[in-house]
């Protein structure tokens, strides 16, 4: 139980850093990626945000209906950011 508490605290701070601080501190990097996406002709800007929002809602629905399945899907999707990082 203590490990779970420590894990929860550290992981929550990890999410705070990536979802609140990094988007504000890394605007230059975000703009650079936007330019790269525009050059490649890929989805960017508001459409990309909409796509991410749709993905969050869809994954939340999967989590809610079947938690284990949602965890598996999330684990597969999270492979990209984990290995790239």
């Amino acid at each position: 139980m203590r490990f779970l508490t420590v894990f929860t605290f550290l992981q929550t701070m990890h999410y705070v850093v990536w979802c609140y601080f990094i988007p504000r501190a890394g605007r230059r990097e975000a703009a650079r990626l936007e330019e790269a996406l525009a050059d490649a002709g890929l989805v960017r800007g508001g459409r990309l945000a909409l796509l991410v929002g749709f993905g969050v809602v869809a994954l939340a629905a999967v989590f809610w209906s079947d938690y284990k399945l949602g965890r598996t899907v999330y684990g597969a999707l999270a492979s990209y950011h984990a290995y790239l990082e």
Binding site: T8, A25, G70
Partner: protein, 223 residues
């Protein structure tokens, strides 16, 4: 000077420092009062979002390192890993042992009753499942609903000598019972020894009837 340093010409660092300290206090409070519910619902709400922000920053910051052939090779390799970790139903029928999230929701405070968090001695909201989550040290992980052949042999406390207690009782006919994962072949008399589980093992062992430690370990295996 530190408190007056300006970040990107907008807000002073001191504001970010205060916000960070407040977020740390809030995270600590949540982790101590509702660790499992915080882990689960944080993953649902912000899991994919934080993946997106991480990818955006890393690709923007180190994009120069990821030129065309190297980026394609990396994407192919990670896609292979993601394909290995795909759900089983992609290549076959969906599993029947679906576990909904309602037990965690019930434990997050939807149920009645209250309990005490050992770390702070402060009350934590939640019903029976939340009580079990908060006091998982006292809940043995045990397959009470498993078939008899999967239950470990248990002798009453104080019955026979220590050597006899460590042996399997001779009165059990037939082959030795096949124990489930997570149990030792020889358990101390009168109790079931809990051994180390991976998250998925705990989830399989407990399922919907999970109590305390099983749920906690199951949720703690999340990324």
């Amino acid at each position: 000077m530190w408190p007056y340093v300006v970040v990107e010409g907008e807000r002073p660092v001191v504001l970010y420092s205060l916000a960070f300290a407040a977020a740390a206090c809030l995270a600590l409070l949540l982790a101590l009062s509702l660790p499992l519910a915080t882990t689960v619902f944080r993953l649902i709400l912000f899991g994919l979002l934080h993946n997106f922000f991480e990818l955006r920053y890393v690709l923007g910051r180190f994009g120069a390192l990821l030129e065309r052939p190297r980026l394609e090779a990396l994407l192919a390799a990670i896609t292979g890993i993601a394909a290995i970790r795909r759900p089983r139903w992609v290549s076959g029928p969906p599993p029947r042992d679906r576990r909904s999230l309602w037990p965690v929701g019930a434990g997050a405070g939807l149920g009645a009753g209250s309990t005490t968090t050992p770390a702070l001695g402060m009350p934590a909201r939640g019903g029976g499942r939340c009580r079990a989550l908060a006091r998982s040290d006292h809940v043995p992980l045990r397959r009470a609903h498993a078939p008899p052949q999967h239950r470990p042999a248990v002798l009453p406390v104080g019955m026979g000598s220590g050597r006899q207690q460590r042996r399997r009782p001779r009165s059990i006919p037939g082959p030795a019972p096949r124990l489930g994962r997570g149990y030792s072949s020889v358990d101390p008399p009168g109790r079931v020894r809990r051994t180390a589980h991976t998250g998925s093992d705990a989830g399989r062992a407990t399922g919907r009837r999970c109590r305390g430690g099983g749920c906690a370990v199951y949720a703690a295996s999340l990324g």
